[in-house]
Symmetry: C3
């Protein structure tokens, strides 16, 4: 999986997953993102790094919020942005997706941010993309959501830069969460070894050890002395359905509440990928409380996506120039 993300010189070519993404590249992305974070209360700056480039937000799955973050990031880099919401029926075949890719490439797309319901879809697009075209995975199935993971570790680094000595607790449906998987891979690459995942049995990953985490259904034990507490968005359907009637008490047992958080480090950072379900996986008091960095995550998300696009597009230009000078 790593190979496809890097070019022959080891530089970022596509962004598909944080799994196997080299530490130096993660650091480069985070360092670049620093320059794009606006001061609090100041308007965002616009930079001309992608002027003349065209970014397609190609969403096979509806997500207004995520699409907007990519749209804003691209516009702040002065790119032209095309939003395409593509119906993806169960009848659609992978070949149709590739036809779409080839067609939009022919229209002059430079970067695609792709959201897709199928695991592995982004890698598939990257395998077939033209040499001058880059793919950024904006979430594929339950597989990966690398820009969310990068904004998570970026936000953590700004407050707790010592990744090696960090205790991280992730609470919720880790088994089905592309966010949790991608963030865990990024944290481990940055040196974090103490990662606990917490949730009811059905939400825990099948093989925690392979993932490099410890898993528990005991919230208090899992949160014990945690420096970072990350809640995941809960699909109400999953909890309230018949199968999970036994977790009707989800909020009390696994919610980010004052009571549960009393077990964590009392300076623990509270994180959540959003949008939050008040009263389900988190209370509003906690979400907007002093320890919360949830809105910082949103703000940083724009900067991190700008960094990824800028690194990939700058990269691509130098490659094109080399190719050009040889002909």
């Amino acid at each position: 999986m790593t190979d496809i993300q890097l070019d022959a010189d080891g530089r970022l070519r596509h962004l598909i997953t944080t799994q196997g993404l080299p530490r130096a590249l993660i650091s480069q992305i985070l360092d670049t993102a620093e320059s794009f974070v606006p001061e609090v209360g100041r308007p965002a700056r616009k930079v001309p790094l992608l002027r003349g480039k065209t970014v397609f937000n190609l969403f096979f799955e509806n997500s207004t919020r995520t699409r907007t973050t990519f749209e804003l990031a691209a516009k702040r880099l002065s790119a032209d942005v095309i939003n395409m919401d593509v119906a993806h029926s169960s009848r659609s075949k992978g070949e149709d997706d590739l036809d779409t890719l080839f067609t939009l490439q022919a229209m002059g797309a430079d970067i695609f941010a792709i959201r897709h319901p199928d695991n592995g879809a982004a890698a598939r697009f990257a395998e077939h993309a033209a040499p001058h075209v880059a793919i950024i995975n904006a979430g594929d199935g339950s597989h990966a959501h690398p820009t969310q993971a990068l904004l998570d570790v970026f936000t953590i680094r700004r407050h707790r830069p010592d990744f090696a000595n960090l205790r991280v607790a992730i609470v919720g449906d880790v088994a089905h969460s592309r966010v949790a998987h991608s963030t865990i891979y990024a944290l481990r690459t940055l040196g974090t070894t103490d990662i606990r995942v917490i949730g009811p049995e059905l939400f825990l990953p099948a093989d925690p050890q392979a993932l490099g985490v410890s898993a528990t259904t005991d919230t208090h034990a899992g949160l014990d002395s945690a420096d970072i507490v990350m809640g995941l968005r809960i699909q109400r359907e999953r909890i309230e359905g018949d199968i999970l009637a036994e977790v009707a008490d989800y909020h009390a047992r696994f919610g980010l509440t004052a009571a549960n958080l009393s077990h964590a480090n009392d300076r623990a950072l509270i994180m959540h990928p959003g949008p939050i379900n008040r009263g389900v996986e988190i209370t509003a008091d906690i979400a907007y409380g002093e320890q919360s960095v949830i809105l910082e995550q949103v703000r940083n998300g724009i900067a991190v996506r700008m960094a990824v696009m800028a690194l990939i597009a700058g990269k691509r230009d130098s490659r094109s120039q080399r190719a050009n000078s040889q002909t």
Copy 2:
């Protein structure tokens, strides 16, 4: 209601309603709008006043036409524009709206144009907005639609600047019209005292005196010598339903027809917020006739929305700079 719209120095901070909006501010908006009206048949000019700023069109209620006017106004000011159509189900709670506000603020929004089905929604957003963020009400429930009111009085001022001696007749469902309410408040602030509202009993406001208007079901009496005749868009459902079966003759009795308009001033301006229902509240001959300024209203609507955004954003900058110099 007024307070939230103004900053400590009495300058425009948000635009929520024309009720209580000071006359000096209305005049400032209209004067500013003058500079943004293109000559007839000439392309609109683009100005850099909002370069680097991000305007969100946050529509909880679908309205392609109104959204487009805000989008065009923002683009002509060189802002980046993000269109977000947000589903607002009956299950949605106000807290969800605020979470959306906080999230989009964190993404770097500078101005929101908000359309919402609930009365008072825009004020609620303004109460919770960050200091550097401005809210413009693009229509909330049956409460207010201030930019429409401002374009109405702007259009009137260009033709009949003597507001104090103006006879204005508004015909249609005034009781449920945010446009009518907002325009009446603006006219009264500008000095107009003779405002008549005309329609079937069910369409008349409960307390015309409180609104500062006279009300009548007699179209001919209401239109007598009127200088301005403003039709309102009729929801066909409301007329054709059982309750209002007695107004099946709506067009004949209350439509802006040549026959009915013969009672008005023969140089009366014909106005309508659009889109028109031909043959219901107006005939096409009248809508596109010599006395009609309906298309001027549309053109002026862009200029007025540009003026509101420019005044608010210019304002915001100087405030930020002051805040900055203190730290």
Copy 3:
């Protein structure tokens, strides 16, 4: 039909149809488009020809792909672009469409790209458009799709410039295809006389002679020695319905397959307006094979649409300036 497309000096004013469009104008569009084609693998260039102008993509019929080509073309010319998807119910009347036109003109539209389900809709808009506003037909009913036709002949000209000695075969539902009609008219104007249309009886035009083509149900005969083979997108519903059960073997008989194409010139160009139905009217091998110019058509489509907009808008400016200097 021609008149409305040209101004008094015979220059392009609107683009409604290729039927009757003078050869000199077609050549001018194609020559202009040449300057807008990016080198392969290089990012598209952006030019300021439409800076300050506003292009409305007014789509009464959903087509994300075609809309995107107009959006990209306009953005590469530095225009502001407004996308409007307008629901067109069976209850809608032509008057409503004109009200929409008049309203959007008043908002400052300079160019409309209009897609509409009704034959003749684009011409109707052009008849009623203001003097400074141009209409480009982006497909109306089964009538015309002139920009597709122009990109077809542009693509052909780059490979086979000798139109007079060209053998062109068009395979599919020519009877209902606006693409086929528009391309046939353009080819004939450029001097092509040998045009064959191929398909099952129900897909053949009622009067081939009037159209200037020969028609056959015999694919092998129709493809014999063809220099250009153009497949049309098939609506699966049309083939699989009861009426056409006898053409369940459509792919074998009429598909662009290696077997069928063995009858064409062995250097024949393979064309298709896209998006393709793999395994219905074409095989993937052929669509992406050496003879295929299908993706070139997509790329050229942006350049041709840029050319049309640039010629119309440049035209309009000089007209406005003249008008201005007289007043």
